[in-house]
Symmetry: C2
Subunit: 334 residues, 2 copies
């Protein structure tokens, strides 16, 4: 139905080869004919078919963004949305399209994500929002399809990853609290299946030891990354260690829940208990007191993952681990 290269050739009175050459900027076309071809193409509203081009060139300029549990990832948008924007924009910069995939969809169709990508001849995949114990993990790692994980530290011949240096991030947070004079610092962590949880715990412990403090197991509580998780864990923590003067939460949502619970318990933030979150979600700026937090460069993470993938695709670079720095955003809660 749409205008094809043939139509342009016929109207312009040249062969399709010439049209093709004119469009692809080959210099073996006289300026005259090129201009005429381009003129005709414009009049006819010709748009070269990427489908046909993909077939003959054997490259689709298309990569998938695989999101785990896209539709049911609670609170996930605070993190995923910006990453997605970074991925999309940088992909566009390279002339690539982004197709959204979801593990749940694949599950429904009973096809592996790798089959999904193969059918579409995708050139690579970027994976995010996945847990280490996700059944899709091994598939990602073992596949020959070039892939980059976000917050998913798997390194294999065809799979690299990008993540924030969570150890450093957590150390920043704890050092900040130490500098404020706190000694009994609690840590409310996310679920242990998340890689970030392991690293943040590590950073927390390291910063304490660095300051010559002993790591008290009673000061660490695991929960989920959401507001409610933060609330519940705060109660648990204060039961086990009523003398905490500061709490480091593994997410801003948790911290917000925690502050709320502390208030209920008659503790004032930051006077009685100082609070630090993680993520720098937009609302952290507006809760009372405004939340001190560790900021990840979400957009940059998406961007970096694309850069790595493009390196693998176009320059045969080997996949690697890319750690981005994070920075403290100090506000009123500490």
């Amino acid at each position: 139905m749409p205008v094809t290269i043939k139509d342009v050739a016929r109207v312009a009175g040249v062969s399709i080869t010439t049209v093709s050459h004119a469009f692809n900027g080959h210099d073996d076309v006289s300026a005259d004919t090129r201009d005429r071809v381009l003129q005709v193409a414009k009049e006819l509203n010709y748009r070269p078919s990427h489908v046909a081009r993909s077939l003959v060139l054997q490259q689709t300029h298309n990569v998938g963004l695989l999101v785990s549990d896209f539709n049911t990832n609670p609170g996930g948008h605070h993190f995923l949305f910006d990453v997605m924007a970074g991925v999309h924009d940088q992909l566009a910069e390279f002339g690539y399209d982004m197709t959204l995939l979801s593990t749940t969809t694949a599950m429904q169709r009973l096809v592996s994500y790798i089959d999904f990508c193969t059918e579409r001849r995708m050139e690579g995949v970027i994976v995010m929002g996945m847990r280490m114990n996700d059944p899709y993990m091994r598939e990602v790692a073992d596949a020959k399809l070039p892939s980059v994980g976000i917050d998913l530290p798997i390194l294999s011949p065809h799979c690299g990853y990008v993540m924030t240096d969570n150890i450093q991030g957590a150390m920043h947070a704890v050092r900040h609290l130490l500098a404020k004079g706190h000694q009994r610092i609690g840590f409310i962590n996310g679920h242990a299946e998340a890689v970030v949880s392991v690293d943040r715990l590590h950073g927390y412990q390291t910063a304490l030891r660095e300051a010559g403090l002993k790591v008290d197991p009673d000061l660490v509580v695991h929960s989920n990354f959401l507001v409610q998780g933060g609330e519940e864990a705060t109660t648990v923590l204060l039961t086990k260690a009523p003398d905490v003067t500061a709490i480091f939460y593994a997410s801003d949502l948790m911290a917000i829940g925690g502050m709320r619970r502390l208030l209920r318990m008659g503790k004032r933030v930051p006077h009685d208990v100082a609070v630090v979150g993680y993520d720098n979600i937009d609302l952290g700026e507006w809760v009372v007191p405004a939340l001190t937090t560790v900021a990840q460069r979400r957009y940059d993470m998406g961007k970096a993952s694309v850069d790595m993938l493009m390196g693998m695709l176009r320059r045969q670079e080997r996949p690697r681990a890319c750690l981005l720095t994070s920075e403290m955003v100090v506000r009123q809660s500490t």
Copy 2:
């Protein structure tokens, strides 16, 4: 590089026609050969190329999701993410892929979004996050490419739309406040370029008149949809009308900002001033006091837009206007 239909045919000792038939479930293939073909295909790990199929079938099973200012849409994720999930999931249900587009990207490349879609032979587009005064608007409306707008009430031969009934939503909110005995009800609205703003204002006014109250222009303030917008507008409102006992905000973010400002001004929520928001973002449940709000069915909006598009594509249905209901979520702020 990947396994093609030829490989399968060769190994199975049949023609490519037979392989094609076997794979597409034609019944003019003996059970024997079909099983053999399928077996060989599995061993060879054959995946039919969607690219080649798209070319010959002249249909890509691909639709674009056009997001306006994807990378710079502040606070947009609260709304867009869920809609996107609905679009993606429902598209998958129909066997369609979703490619993400952004107006900013198109702008950078200086190609119209319609050219972008044509090159890729997309079958349709779903548009969201766009303002009525966006330059891309006319393109969407005039294009022959089937499209569905979300919160974008344009109806043309090839363009339908889905939106929440914002008039009803606003009426719900105001009625709720009226029922609580409030008479002086302020309305802090979003920017006037957003269609939703017009409708919500309409609903606000209608509900008041319905109750026999006069609409006082001093009670309405326009601002942006963000926290800061809510804060500033609240100050303006209370200057113009210090006697308000309730405020209806056009977004939850604004309401959160408003509550904060009210607190600063020594007003207690809901005791001195009751507050209703709009959107039902996840954090509304956790601010103090928990926010009463109007909930949009975001996921369903995405889903509905796909259903409409599929109707247009597959059953030649005419584009239409689809209004979804919203419902009150009553919490502590009223």
